[in-house]
Symmetry: C2
Subunit: 315 residues, 2 copies
């Protein structure tokens, strides 16, 4: 089992894109700074998409510029296409993820592109990235969304996910990730699919899972991932943007609960849980009326709780 995990905060992108309110730039900066100060080392800070589509993320270039000033922070963004990747490169991000929906129906509806068209886009981005000097070249991940099922297609065959993962790597991605966009995954499926994809792309090319808690199985799916060697998990502070009781909503797993589980299990995240819990205030203040989730924050830490990270710090 994994003994160190990278918790990748995606709230500033996936959380904010899922709510109506637009968070002011200064609040985004404060949020990112506070999470980094609590020990979070990778944050997906936005998405380079047309502002008319996602006004909530229209200031992504400015957010990236700020986030890059935080020492030790990996600044990640999502891009839907080559144009977005070019903007991401110009902004100086450290990591770019392009989503490729394993459900072609979903892909057509979401970005109006077939799998073949998306793979062409990926090759275009790879060409761009390879034209850069190595020290300015962001890491490039292909994120397989709807990998565990689709609200439009239903079951998504594992064969197709495995094939697309191989094609993304052939196209030049540095790594692939699997996303349970729809909250359909179960722990047995997580284990089976991770093993199958790794058999094709190699263990090191699949390190991350993006899980949702739509049906309450988010942390059980994390545990399943841990047990097959996954070491990076996306999550959203306060489960932002993911009303678990609203079908179709994002429903990211809650960063606070994820970190609590990992640290309680003795798996180090490098994150100071008490400080992380305090970051919720920034969300509450900047997004009045928006639902903020999380079991651990509400119940509090167990009496005498010892975190793996603190134990390590003390050692």
């Amino acid at each position: 089992m994994t003994t160190q995990v990278l918790v990748s905060e995606v709230g500033p992108r996936d959380g904010l894109q899922s709510i109506q309110a637009v968070m002011p730039l200064e609040a985004k900066k404060a949020w990112i700074a506070a999470e980094a100060a609590a020990g979070v080392t990778e944050i997906e800070v936005g998405s380079f998409v047309p502002a008319k589509l996602l006004p909530q993320l229209a200031d992504t270039a400015e957010v990236v510029a700020y986030a890059r000033t935080i020492p030790g922070l990996t600044v990640a963004v999502l891009v839907p296409n080559l144009k977005g990747a070019a903007a991401a490169v110009a902004a100086g991000v450290h990591k770019i993820t392009i989503p490729l929906s394993a459900s072609e129906t979903h892909s057509l509806k979401n970005v109006r592109r077939t799998h073949a068209q998306m793979l062409d886009e990926v090759r275009g981005i790879v060409a761009l990235l390879r034209s850069l000097p190595a020290e300015r070249r962001p890491k490039f991940e292909g994120g397989l969304s709807t990998a565990f099922g689709c609200t439009l297609e239903g079951e998504v065959p594992a064969d197709r996910v495995v094939q697309l993962a191989g094609q993304l790597m052939e196209a030049g991605c540095d790594e692939v990730g699997l996303s349970d966009t729809t909250g359909y995954a179960n722990p047995a499926q997580v284990k089976a699919l991770v093993r199958r994809v790794r058999a094709v792309v190699g263990d090191h090319a699949l390190s991350g899972l993006h899980l949702h808690n739509t049906r309450g199985l988010g942390l059980a799916n994390v545990l399943a991932g841990l047990e097959v060697g996954i070491s990076t998990f996306d999550s959203s502070l306060g489960g932002l943007g993911g009303c678990p009781f609203a079908p179709g909503a994002s429903g990211n797993i809650v960063t606070e609960d994820l970190v609590f589980m990992l640290e309680a299990m003795g798996i180090g995240t490098g994150i100071d849980l008490a400080r992380l819990l305090e970051v919720r205030h920034i969300l509450r203040d900047a997004l009045p009326g928006e639902a903020i989730y999380g079991f651990t924050p509400e119940a509090g830490l167990p009496l005498g709780f010892r975190s793996a990270t603190h134990a390590e710090t003390a050692a």
Copy 2:
């Protein structure tokens, strides 16, 4: 990994004892009947405690009398002492559980008895049960509460839990169970403690876990239990009585989410999930204003969902 699981519904006991409202007897009957009709084969229907302490469960004898008429249903109750056990036997229950808190502080506060006094009580109950003809003798479980930590003592040493489990079996219990009364458990701890207890009492003497979802780890802990051979899990329909956001509240894992996870994983429960979801209406009607939880009921089943139980039924 376990391929068949017994889901033991504890809502009529643990759920109802945790809320202020008193559910009418007729509603309890309807609830129990509807869950049994959906395929639930074990229900903890009440507790034989003084009515002044728990007026919500004052009609337990009548509930037992009714539940016994349902073919194939194991009718279980909780008892705090010999007097309660005698009442349970008189009512004709199939299974009796006595809670023994691994935290002696909690035991003293909860039932005003030390561990030694509780073990005496257990021996008294065993003597009573052994005086009965075999066909009228209920199964007798010692339920180790606060087994994963205590809100009063903090960490509960695993050594003590293992020792008490051995003492419960020596005193004559048929089996022991482990309860995360406080929602402190994490998956690594679940696996480690189950293995240690089983090493002392034998695999067959520890089959069940009673888990709470206070910090959102309930289903992850179920997965951990499954992976070390646990085959019985307690849960509460609608998470009744367990406001996850109220520290100290029960917070039982939600039956609907538990069954969804198991069935999605291909683990048969014998429960028809669609019918189970309909039972929630009984709770809503009988307990107006009471919070009813569950992710799966709100999000709905995935498109094209296939349950293990249905697949088996069709085969």
